[in-house]
């Protein structure tokens, strides 16, 4: 007999639907995801065009261009943490704009719509500063893409945080993406699933929570983030200490 699978479209934290935590309060559900890119057909070869498309592009495209690079092949340290900044540097060759766009922290904005407005603001400011950027052609176009994400349950359940010490090193990088990056979009406060779950234990894991919060999601690849998470759990999980 075939196993049945049910599907639901998850509400985002930004929707009006009531928030539903992705993990049970008494067990952490290990999930995984697969992201697929979809062409939008929109591309920009000037900053003005980038600004125009960004003002109307699907919100999922902004999600992909801000976070998607973490799921892309990369080497060592990422120079810029979103596609807009990378293009400003490599396509438009405007280091000033690249630096400003790179410093836009998605966690500071309530939702992707607010984040869009901030990127537009930075671009508008730069266009006012440098007249030539209205018409200067980039050496490579910015291709707007959007994404679809399929989340699936691995059926693994964690009852106690200490179990994550041995489990995290074996999680796929896409699972790390789901719990550590994608969670920031799902949860009402910009937080990852691990910290959200640990708060269920009151102050017991406060130190661990503090160290998890210190992991910078922007500049390291998912393999490095997985290692950092594993290290933090190993060092600061009270149950693991001698």
């Amino acid at each position: 007999m075939l196993e049945t699978t049910t599907v639901k479209v998850l509400p985002m934290a930004t929707d009006n639907a009531p928030f539903c935590p992705p993990v049970a309060a008494d067990a952490f559900a290990i999930k995984d995801c697969a992201l697929l890119a979809i062409a939008t057909g929109k591309k920009a070869t000037t900053l003005k065009e980038l600004q125009a498309h960004l003002s109307s592009i699907d919100i999922d495209s902004i999600y992909l261009h801000v976070w998607g690079s973490l799921l892309e092949p990369q080497f060592e340290v990422r120079e810029y943490n979103n596609h807009f900044a990378s293009w400003a540097r490599r396509g438009l060759h405007d280091d000033t704009l690249a630096e400003r766009l790179a410093m836009v922290d998605p966690n500071e904005y309530a939702d992707l719509e607010e984040l869009r407005q901030e990127f537009l603001e930075v671009m508008a400011e730069r266009l006012e500063e440098r007249e030539y950027l209205h018409w200067a052609q980039a050496t490579e176009p910015f291709e707007f893409i959007r994404s679809t994400i399929v989340v699936f349950d691995t059926a693994k359940r964690v009852e106690q945080p200490e179990e994550l010490i041995t489990l995290i090193p074996h999680l796929s990088t896409s699972s790390i993406f789901y719990h550590f990056i994608d969670a920031r979009r799902r949860l009402p406060v910009s937080q990852d699933d691990f910290r959200f779950w640990l708060t269920c234990w009151g102050d017991r894991y406060a130190e661990l929570n503090h160290h998890l919060a210190a992991i910078d999601p922007y500049f390291n690849g998912l393999t490095t983030i997985r290692h950092q998470l594993a290290t933090a759990f190993k060092q600061y999980c009270p149950g693991n200490q001698p």
Partner: protein, 412 residues
């Protein structure tokens, strides 16, 4: 050992676990791939392994091939070239013949396609099958393996009505896509690490191939594997080699391509290549048969550096193949090569023979960089360009379409 177990040894159990999770909602679904050949070419290579992998994951997967006569394939070859931007005029009669052959195939294939849950139509040859199957039940997807970014408009105008009604299409890069009234998914192609072209070879087999072509195994070797086509710039490769030999006189070069007998332009390019080589005994210009996969594999493994100095390129799977063998690649700054060759990590992107010569010298002077880049290149391919990633994305697409193609789905 099952195919999944063989792949697990290469990509790791977590990757296979992920495939099995994604396959759950697709178990028992019928999937049919349709293309125009069982043998030869990148599409057939991928399907040869993809179909049994999908079957092992309990998807009821079938592979059908359309048949045609010489004028039909003459027409579809013209379409292929036209989609890549060549100005190919296809006479009205030939286009009518293309439709007639597709109608004949539709009669034969209808029973396979009409009830299928998913139908993947590969490239333009069988594109009209959708419109010839009006009672279809499933999700139909057109998979374009070609760089269709700048098609010859009259040919695209002819093909477009056949492609528009599909539920989705798949392109290899965002830049290759055409504006269509349905979602256009971006899925990179892949290589099969277990195929003759990519499988590990015993060192004695590599040495035997070098002996066969009188290549000295103790001297540095640069290899480019490509058909004799101006866009692959074989003449530029020879120029780069000549500049580099001023500093590394013991350098050898292999240009390995197919026979150009059936390609008038290929014959001309080959003449130019031979003229540029000027009987240099260290330049080996090889014309290999289409099934010389293990020979190509051995040449890539014997190389110190692999070149793909194209001035225009689709995805560039020869780059992927070389990287999988742990070789740094010096590639033209174009198309899919840009996605794979990362300066100072997996190789170098170049724009001129001078640039290629400079990078050959850089790498030959620092053998440790050859090793370092090669190692990174292999890991890069392992994570991104193997068949398992390709299959994961196909199944992600299928799950997404099965549930309405939303931007976010959670399977519970």
């Amino acid at each position: 050992m099952s195919i999944l177990e063989q792949y697990a040894q290469i990509v790791g159990d977590d990757v296979i676990d992920q495939l099995q999770q994604l396959a759950k909602p697709l178990r028992g679904k019928s999937v049919v791939h349709v293309n125009s050949t069982k043998l030869g070419g990148g599409v057939a290579e991928i399907l040869t392994k993809l179909v049994p992998l999908m079957q092992e994951l309990e998807l009821n997967t079938d592979w059908q091939v359309i048949t045609g006569d010489e004028p039909f394939f003459q027409c579809t070859k013209g379409m292929h070239n036209a989609l890549q931007g060549n100005q190919v005029s296809l006479p009205h009669g030939l286009l009518e013949h293309y439709e007639a052959i597709n109608r004949e195939n539709a009669e034969r294939l209808r029973s396979h396609l009409v009830d299928a849950d998913f139908v993947f139509i590969h490239d333009p040859q069988p594109a009209p099958q959708l419109s010839l199957c009006p009672d279809r039940q499933g999700h139909w997807i057109w998979r374009c393996h070609i760089d269709a970014s700048h098609p010859y408009r009259p040919v695209w105008k002819f093909l477009r009505p056949f492609i528009e009604p599909y539920e989705a299409s798949i392109f290899s890069l965002p830049a290759f896509a055409q504006a269509l009234p349905h979602p256009e998914y971006i899925i990179s192609p892949s290589i099969d690490p277990l195929s003759d072209k990519n499988i590990d070879l015993p060192p004695e087999e590599v040495r035997e191939v070098l002996r066969q072509f009188q290549i000295d195994p103790d001297r540095p070797l640069v290899v480019q594997v490509s058909r004799y086509d101006r866009f692959k710039d074989p003449v530029g490769v020879i120029r780069a080699y000549k500049m580099a030999t001023k500093f590394h006189p013991d350098l050898q070069l292999v240009l390995a391509g197919g026979s150009a007998d059936d390609d008038p332009e290929g014959v001309l390019v080959l003449q130019e290549v031979k003229a540029e080589a000027n009987h240099d005994p260290d330049i080996h210009i090889l014309m290999l048969p289409p099934d010389a996969n293990r020979t190509i594999n051995a040449l890539q493994r014997a190389a110190d550096i692999v070149m793909q100095k194209s001035t225009r390129e689709g995805f560039g799977l020869t780059v992927t193949e070389a990287m999988w063998k742990g070789k740094p690649v010096i590639g033209g700054d174009t198309g899919g090569i840009r996605l794979q060759v990362v300066n100072y990590h997996t190789g170098f992107l170049v724009n001129t023979p001078e640039g290629a010569a400079l990078r050959i010298r850089y790498l030959l002077n620092q053998p440790d960089k050859i090793t370092e880049f090669g190692h990174k290149a292999q890991e890069f391919v392992r994570e991104n360009f193997l068949l398992t990633r390709h299959l994961r994305e196909y199944m992600t697409l299928m799950v997404s379409l099965l549930h309405g193609g939303g931007d976010r789905l959670e399977l519970t």
